[in-house]
């Protein structure tokens, strides 16, 4: 078969975990080293599912090198996944509860459409982090790329939160419909966010530690100072950030600006409904 086709072949009783998976006291360790090049993502996810089926409460991955879709739709209650290396795109997509901690940088689209859970990146996470997240928390110690936090949305008790220790590029929070993004700009001079900030946002809020000029805002976004209740939320996020990464944010909650939607209906009046 053409190599450009997907290959599948994993079943619940396949033996792909042999030589890679070891489980001691409910703690799984997966060694990704293979003799014939990097392990295929389908193999890794199959092994991880086997570990989850055995009821493991922690899974540690060693030697991760670009494997995509790690822990997509993982739903096991209380599961903790430790990743040593560089996980590939779509880490924790549709994540539904577990905690993922990455010791290294993540690639693009981390936490894509995640439902709940926690993703901690001890490094950078690049473009489109937290796309369409509707719950859970993503903590990035370092910088992020373009189009981060796009179309995050909240409903009832679930609100997604994204904390970025460093910077974010253009289109942060585009289409944002709920949740909170906090950008700290640590180790960075000038504005830690790019242009088209909050373009078309109609819910949620973005807090930026540092300056944001009006021309950085996208249509539908407005700038203000955090309210007292906002400050309580920011403080809680800062506490989490400091505890998670063991660092101190200089100045605490001072110097924050708030970006929020100018309307929950940014484009009402745009259309003409006349029956021509």
């Amino acid at each position: 078969m053409d190599r450009s086709f997907c290959t599948i072949g994993h079943t619940s009783d396949c033996e792909c975990d042999k030589g890679h998976l070891s489980v001691v006291d409910g703690k799984a360790v997966i060694d990704l080293k293979c003799t014939d090049g990097p392990m295929h993502f389908a193999t890794l996810n199959c092994i991880m599912r086997k570990a989850m089926r055995q009821g493991c409460k922690s899974i540690e991955l060693n030697g991760v090198m670009g494997q995509r879709y790690i822990a997509s739709t993982a739903s096991a209650e209380g599961l903790k996944i430790i990743i040593n290396g560089t996980p590939g795109n779509d880490l924790g997509a549709f994540l539904n509860g577990p905690t993922i901690e990455v010791f290294g940088n993540a690639q693009d689209m981390t936490g894509n459409t995640m439902n709940s859970g926690r993703i901690v990146i001890h490094g950078n996470a690049w473009d489109v982090t937290g796309l369409a997240a509707r719950g859970g928390r993503i903590m990035v110690k370092g910088d992020t790329g373009y189009r981060v936090g796009i179309h995050m949305k909240e409903f009832a008790g679930t609100r997604p939160t994204l904390v970025i220790g460093g910077t974010a590029k253009d289109y942060l929070g585009e289409y944002m419909a709920g949740g909170t993004v906090l950008v700290l700009g640590l180790g960075h001079e000038g504005s830690p966010v790019g242009r088209s900030l909050g373009a078309g946002m109609h819910g949620g809020q973005i807090f930026v530690r540092g300056t944001v000029l009006p021309e950085q805002l996208g249509p539908g976004a407005s700038i203000s100072s955090p309210s007292e209740s906002d400050k309580i939320e920011i403080q809680a996020l800062l506490d989490d950030f400091e505890a998670t990464f063991g660092t101190k944010v200089p100045g605490g909650i001072s110097g924050m600006v708030k970006i929020s939607p100018s309307s929950s209906r940014p484009f009402s009046g745009y259309y003409d409904k006349t029956n021509i």
Binding site: D2, N45, Y69, N89, H151, R265, F267, G269, D272
Partner: protein, 511 residues
Amino acid sequence: MSEPMKQGKRFDHRLPERFIPTIDRELCRVCKRCVSECSYQALEFKESRVVAVGGCVACGRCQALCPANCIEIRPVPPQFAPHGNWSEKSRRAILAQASSGGVLLSSCGADDDHPSIFDDLLLDAAQVTNPSIDPLREPVETITYLGRRPGRLEMCDGKVIIREDDTPLVRLDMPLMFGHISLGSISYNAQRSLFMAAKELNIVAGSGEGGLHPDFYQYADRICSEVASGRFGINPQYLKGGAAVEIKIGQGAKPGHGGHLPGEKVTTMISETRMIPRGTDALSPYPHHDIYSIEDLAQLISVLKESTEYRLPVGVKIAAVHNVGAIASGLVRAGADFLTVDGYKGGTGAAPRVIRDHAGLPIEVAISAVDRRLTQEGLRNRVTVCAGGGIRSSADMIKALALGADIAMVSTSAMIAMGCRVCQQCHRGLCSWGIATQREDLCARLDPEISSAHIVRLFRAWNEELKEVLGAMGIDAVESLVGNRDRLRYRGANPKIAEVMGVKHIGEGWG
């Protein structure tokens, strides 16, 4: 936002009415049923009689429910000076936009009067060299499978290998599926009717962008879960619980455009299903922001396969656009198990007119382009091709199959079966038939038991008509019709279209 919209004061041009409900006073019992049925408030009770007060959209509700059968909806004769180039429609559009400064919005499919290419195709029948088959007495099969096929059987030492984890396929009793119509664009009762009918017919219905209402999980094995750019209502249960997963890239009615469910339609129920706050606009971005290229699409397909543990076929829906053949080939190579191609006459709950009426490709041409390109690249026998957008009858469905579609996708036909009169007002949320609305009193007008029965009867009849045609052609299984363009001839005015579609002209013999 353009300047005029921001100005408080407007000087609106007044447009002539398009339709007038006319009441036969001799017969009218003045029961006022029509007044209460008209959700567009075009009828009022004044001075002991019912009068038309303007705004009639010809939804037909008053006429259909009048106990005295005394209402006739009449189109208003031309009110503008005749002009061959400046049609009344074009002048109305200019006057409306000059007043509002807005983008003209409409719904349903493109309403231009270009003839459908389907109408220019004639079917073949068996005579002498091949016996026709009586489908009432001999088997004529219409079972169709949705999903990826392997292209060839795997053999090992003369042994046929059947792997239990081989690509999953969904079995349909007829080559038909309901398109994706979201809860939000249509009412709870309307979507329930579609799902009930899909279950009864043993076919598949699209969920639409908007999640799945908890009550509808009972139909999940017949529902294709859509993953669109807004990612509304997506959770592991939604992905894993359905019959298939479909990534929506585009829609025939508005290729390259996103979705916009206005806040007034986001009721408590919709907000719970979409998982967004009540009353906020539900925006589906124009692109998926994790797909900027074909390899990104491959990534989304892969993550959905991983997420469903390879138990469900994962497909991609695109609007028919001019390069659709090459795009289809890319989709198959990116791992799509099925493709859905939506032609430019496809329906919508709301779309800018300029896109709906002027962008895209007729589905007839798109199907043949996709079928030919996939065949040339040796991919056609690996993927299921679904096609829709303007399929109005079993004849259209049959012609779509002969042009190269495995499965015909219908939506508007199913809604008409429920009562829709295609008055193109879905975007206003006032549907008097309780279909494209969220207003509780209007929604209650639709009874899912009755509506689903209407849908089931319609498509059972279509399936019988399909069997009749297959039998007449001397074909006893629908798979032998798919892509069998020899069984079609073109009779229209433009033979170039026939050439592009790979269909012979009438008068040209067997080939």
